[in-house]
Symmetry: C2
Subunit: 131 residues, 2 copies
Amino acid sequence: MTSTEPGLRPTKQRLAVAAAMSSFEDFRSAQDIHELLAHRGDPVGLATVYRTLQRMVDAGEVDLLRTEDGEAIYRRCSDTHHHHLVCRDCGATVEVEGPAVERWTRAIAGEHGYGDVSHTLEIFGTCPSCR
Amino acid sequence: MTSTEPGLRPTKQRLAVAAAMSSFEDFRSAQDIHELLAHRGDPVGLATVYRTLQRMVDAGEVDLLRTEDGEAIYRRCSDTHHHHLVCRDCGATVEVEGPAVERWTRAIAGEHGYGDVSHTLEIFGTCPSCR
DNA sequence: ACAGAGTTGACAACCGTTCTCAACTAGCCT
DNA sequence: AGGCTAGTTGAGAACGGTTGTCAACTCTGT
Ligand SMILES: [Zn+2]
Ligand SMILES: [Zn+2]
Ligand SMILES: [Zn+2]
Ligand SMILES: [Zn+2]
């Protein structure tokens, strides 16, 4: 837990979740992480897992994206703005950057008079080892 | 209902949903559409609304995207590949195209050995009349 | 040790979506 | 027209991910 706000305690549970998030590279659901912690011998209540992940997402320590059916999946990510190239089969994820895309989205929005612009961009494919 | 498959009937309900989808420009949830139909005097069961929307999404007649909290929202769209510039406040939506982005995503995926590439890209902002 | 704010977790509640299945149609054959 | 059949509908139940509840617990400072 990097983010230290006033009155935010580094409890066993929060540290366990943070550790778990550092132990894999792909995107996983809250329930997966909850199970992983249980198997690992650091059981953490499901509600706490959700709460902690939320906090980490807000702090920018973790990226959240949605599967095709709307389920939230989480991954520890670098703190700079980036996007993901995700394997549709095994979940293997690569962080990618595209300055041109950043420029383009801002330009398009400007052309239509939209301000305060943000965007989401994810690329899906089949990774080399899943072909 | 444009898509005519073998044994697919243009029922009152399906036509009503199709008509409803042509009556607005922004993205709406299935429940919104269900209510809209009721108010309009063409009540259609919620399950049927979901089923019909699914079918239209599969047929490419309707675009589906997810709100921040994972809810599915639907909009009648042109059948060519495109993305959306959506007003965060009122939902006003503009379809946009970006050949450069299309090229870029394919290139990035290729560089990492990913094949069978697809992507999602949505731009959010505040439209002129909501500023 | 004590107080008080922060945290936890079992469980219930929520809510969007999907399933079930008996009743109902639209379309087709005679 | 009458009947046959595959397709469709909708009320309600079920499902599954997520959030809320709240009494018990745990830090941390005094
Ligand atoms: Zn893979
Ligand atoms: Zn970006
Ligand atoms: Zn607007
Ligand atoms: Zn595209």
